[in-house]
């Protein structure tokens, strides 16, 4: 039996019966393998990259030293550790002084990301493995001109004096956050004591950095979280790079979705080619049965054949997937700004298991049909397999898809939603396909002979053709969807950080300086946002009830929700800031005068249970101010503009001493304007986020690349489906046309009618695809990716044309050689 199976397998292979099935399966496996390998590596790279935003994988930040048990636990888990201490301090050089943000680091810093230092201010430097040695400090470029120093000169910090030996050009965890105000001095942790700046009551930030394997980190996080004091918080890589977080999340969903589409497409191709394989072996089985083969014999025969196919395909597919991924990375390597870590073994398994599931759910049902082949078929050709098995085939294919989707996404609700949505779309499209075919015949009645032949043919095999249109349509639709979503995702990311977005923030601007800063920026051609007044203040009570300090530090660190009573930056404005949107209530008039009103950001309002009409009491500089909530507003947080949770109406903060803030864009060449600004207004603090923006841009570039790449892979799967689908219908068509040829139809008539049939099929399929794609893109963009949807009119032109073109070309190319053969050889081929 095994020998027979092997013989049949070998013969089928030589006769090309298995090529398409094997190819579809290999495409499925290699697509999944490549995508998972690539995403796996990219994800590791991105985690590393976002880890560099906090210079570690996890950070505990605290205003005082934390207990030793944390470090002991980390050591026990094999995590590497580092410590930093940040404080604000005056730096003196003879008669000049400057307020600086000092960070003292140990020899392990940074655990992730790189320090870049150089010999001269404002020039390029090179990565260094650790910070300054004891007895030396490094300073940011602009501190040199503002203190009138050259590298090597001494500065005084507190009670000690240090030579500023190198220029600090980049530190990984410089990040945003207003606490990082002031130009940076980097020093060694061992020198802090000598400065004597650390006194009881000084504002200090201790940061404990940890890095290691994800599993150990998770364990550590679970262990440390509940043990932390109220004023300490644990920060993960994700939270450290919030502005990238959204983009990353969307990219992940996209890659996931792309992988899924690839598998479903390949699955359909597998089902189609298995279907063809089984119809072509129907007679085989019938003959075998008349010769006494039992259903069990047949089962084991084809089980063996399919196991061999499955194993070959998974092996070859994994290898191809691996090589493809290596190739892609070699090609894209120079474009990917970070070094990609080596992939794990898991993606290989994912690919193999996917291949087996695909084979089982998509290929076995058509095979099951084989076992039921009636030996009567040997005598009467019209004996067909029972219909129940068809239902089984769909059920199994659906089940397999569902299982794979669930496995990939790990989210049952999303899976069920997507899946049932897909079913509904498919059902509706099938109905429309039937209708197309019907109206096709009505048109065909009045047409010439090629047309009549083609459309009559379509009508005659109505059921098969409707299914085929649906298959073509779905494949084209998925490709269109992918393309559209990809385009809007990438566009959205590029918009997110528009060119010339503000990359510097200026804080602590005294009211007296506002006018001169404004003119200085204008004089230097710097594009700046309006200057907003800013004052620290906290909410004391809401509707007379004292606001509770919220216990949950983790939550406060993760979400953007602050603790209600803690200090916040307040501002007032007559106009709604750009990219803010009032969602409840109304913004006050430009010329509003009257009792204080306040506008609250939506998430802040929700998490603190603040509603329109509530009366809030603020404490500002020890005095109280009460204001009524007049509107709730949404804010685009990652637009890198001054954003506020709380905005008061004009005049309400009039008596309070406030400072101003703004943000502006400096091109690399304009960087020296900073010095001028700071020299003229020494009290002002400037926050440089240009490095951060660069980092975000680099991540977005990587992610976009990944998406382009996945799209190409899916395209391959789509082409596979089209090919399989054309192939699947070929026998029937060829038999018909061979008979026509025998009856004397000219080659031109046959070819013409074939082309028309394929073009028409493709056209209808493309039209279906446009309908489906429009709907799916609408759902995806609004529900999954949170993008703004706008209909794509081009789709309705591109879809049908693409369909007609693709199917027409593939169909005619596949049939051409057969049409030019003599009808006898075609009939013999098909016998």
């Amino acid at each position: 039996m095994l020998k027979l199976a092997f013989k049949l397998l070998l013969r089928d292979w030589r006769a090309g019966e298995l090529t398409l099935l094997l190819a579809s399966l290999i495409v499925a496996v290699s697509t999944v393998t490549t995508i998972t390998l690539f995403t796996d590596r990219l994800q590791r790279a991105l985690v590393l990259e976002s880890a560099s935003f906090i210079a570690a994988d996890r950070v505990i930040s605290s205003p005082r030293p934390i207990a030793n048990e944390f470090m002991e636990k980390a050591t026990e888990l094999g995590l590497t550790q580092s410590r930093t201490l940040s404080f604000l301090s005056m730096a003196f050089v003879q008669n000049r002084s400057q307020f600086t943000a000092v960070k003292a680091v140990d020899e392990n810093y940074p655990l992730r990301g790189r320090l870049i230092a150089g010999p001269a201010p404002f020039e390029s430097g090179s990565p260094v493995s650790q910070g300054p040695v004891p007895g030396e400090v490094w300073m940011e470029s602009r501190l040199f001109p503002s203190l009138g120093l050259s590298p090597g000169d001494h500065i005084e910090l507190g009670m000690a004096s240090f030579p500023a030996t190198r220029v600090l050009l980049k530190e990984p965890d410089r990040g945003g956050g207003f606490s990082a105000a002031g130009p940076r001095i980097l020093m060694n942790l061992l020198d802090v004591e000598a400065t004597k700046v650390v006194q009881p009551g000084s504002r200090l930030t201790y940061r404990y950095l940890f890095a290691g394997e994800p599993q150990q980190l998770d364990t550590f996080e679970k262990w440390a979280g509940p043990r932390l004091a109220d004023d300490s918080r644990l920060i993960g890589a994700r939270e450290g790079a919030q502005s990238v977080g959204d983009a990353l999340q969307r990219a992940e969903s996209f890659l996931l979705l792309g992988g899924l589409l690839g598998v479903v497409l390949a699955g359909v191709a597998i089902a189609l080619s298995a279907q063809r394989y089984s119809t072509r072996h129907f007679d085989h089985v019938a003959i075998l049965k008349t010769l006494g083969a039992t259903p069990v014999n047949i089962d084991s025969l084809f089980f063996f054949i399919f196991m061999v196919i499955g194993l070959t395909a998974t092996a070859v597919g994994s290898l191809v997937g691996y090589l493809m991924q290596v190739g892609v990375i070699t090609v894209l390597g120079p474009l990917i700004p970070v070094e990609l870590p080596l992939p794990g073994v898991k993606p290989i398994w994912v690919g193999m298991i996917t291949g087996m599931i695909c084979l089982l759910s998509f290929a076995f049902p058509p095979l099951q049909k084989l076992r039921s082949a009636d030996p009567m078929r040997v005598i009467r050709r019209d004996v067909e397999p029972s219909r129940i098995n068809d239902a089984l085939a769909y059920l199994a294919g659906g089940g397999g898809t569902l299982a794979l989707m669930w496995w990939y996404s790990g989210d049952l609700t999303l899976t069920l939603l997507l899946f049932s949505g897909g079913l509904v779309v498919a059902a509706v499209l099938l109905l429309i396909a039937y209708w197309f075919i019907h109206s096709g015949r009505v048109i065909g009645m009045q047409a010439g002979s090629s047309w009549r032949l083609a459309l009559a043919g379509m009508q005659r095999r109505g059921r098969e053709n409707a299914v085929q249109i649906l298959t073509f349509g779905l494949a084209i639709m998925l490709l269109l969807v992918l393309f559209l979503v990809r385009t809007s995702l990438i566009k959205e990311w590029q918009n997110q950080i528009p060119e010339n977005a503000p990359n510097h923030f200026a804080l602590n601007i005294l009211p007296g300086d506002v006018a001169s800063i404004r003119s200085l920026l204008t004089a230097n051609d710097v594009k700046a946002q309006p200057l907003y007044p800013m004052i620290r203040g906290g909410i004391r009570s809401i509707n007379g009830k004292t606001a509770q300090a919220r216990k949950d530090n983790r939550q406060a660190a993760q979400g953007r929700a602050p603790r209600a009573s803690s200090g916040r930056s307040l501002t007032w404005s007559s106009q709604l800031p750009p990219e803010n949107e009032v969602v409840e209530g109304a913004w006050w008039d430009d010329d509003y005068v009257g009792p204080a009103l306040v506008s609250i950001e939506q998430d802040y309002a929700t998490s603190n249970a603040i509603r329109i009409g509530d009366s809030l009491v603020f404490v500002i500089e020890g005095r109280e101010l009460s204001a009524e909530v007049s509107n709730i507003r949404t804010v685009v947080w990652n637009n890198l503009q001054p954003n506020f949770y709380i905005i008061l109406s004009p005049g309400s903060l009039g008596d309070f001493p406030s400072t101003y803030m703004t943000s502006f864009f400096l091109a690399p060449g304009q960087k020296l304007v900073l010095n001028e600004l700071i020299r003229a207004h020494p009290t002002m603090t400037v926050l440089e986020v240009d490095a951060l923006i660069e980092q975000i841009n680099s991540i977005i570039t990587q992610v976009s690349l990944a998406i382009e790449f996945v799209s190409v892979l899916i395209l391959a799967s789509g082409a596979m489906v089209l090919l399989a689908s054309v192939q699947a219908s070929m026998d029937e068509r060829m038999r018909q046309f061979a008979i026509l040829r025998t009856l004397g139809a000219s080659q031109r008539l046959v070819l013409g009618s074939l082309s028309i049939e394929f073009l028409a099929l493709g056209f209808f399929a493309g039209l279906l695809a446009a309908i489906g794609a429009e709907f799916t893109v609408f759902m995806l963009e609004t529900q999954v990716f949170d993008l703004i949807y706008s209909p794509t009119l081009a789709l309705w032109v591109v879809g049908p044309l693409l369909g007609a073109g693709l199917i027409g070309v593939i169909g005619v190319a596949a049939t051409r050689s057969l049409v030019s053969q003599s009808p006898v050889s075609v009939l013999r081929e098909l016998a």
């Binding site: 049949l8 010769l291 259903p295 009567m376």
Partner: protein
Amino acid sequence: MIKASEVRKTVITGEGELTILKGINLEINYGESVAVVGASGSGKTTLLSLLAGLDTPTSGRICLDTDRILTDMDEEARARVRADLVGFVFQTFQLLGSLTALENVMLPAELRGEASAQSNASEFLARVGLSSREKHYPRQLSGGEQQRVAIARAFASSPKILFADEPTGNLDTRTGEIIIDLLFSLNAEFATTLVLVTHDERIADRCDRSIVMEAGQIAGAISSNEDQMVC
């Protein structure tokens, strides 16, 4: 050897029920050769397929080899009976296109898991005069040659009963004669019970007796030897 009693076959068609066989009773003895003749559409093929267990009757009882009651068996068991007892020769040859002539002949033995399949098959191919075509695929053979391979395949499994449905229907007269000669000589040699559907009177004459089908019923039997009608 073969016993059918009150065998009826009804099929559901678009226009309602169609009764193809209306109560067939027959008995065929061991080693006998029987021709089934009758007009086209009279139900010959249907009867043959029921007797061979390729299909099941709507009612009635069919029994092969005295104790194998086909009508009480499931598909699995009928397949086993076919493997043990029955050989086929069809009008359309029914060779597996993906196997060579030799492999086609080996097929039944392989299905039974027999070891000496190959030499046995070679021998039978030689018997039908196709030694030189062992490695050829069916599509490289003429119709007559294909039918000879089919006959070799049928006899290679040494069946007790051979069913043949218009074995010469697709062949010219001359080739048909060669095939029939071959069939009868092998039949005689192996003492096989032969049931043969044919339109050709000369072929029917070579059988021990003929059964005449008419509109789903046995209209009569002709014993070839005596050449007279027995009613």
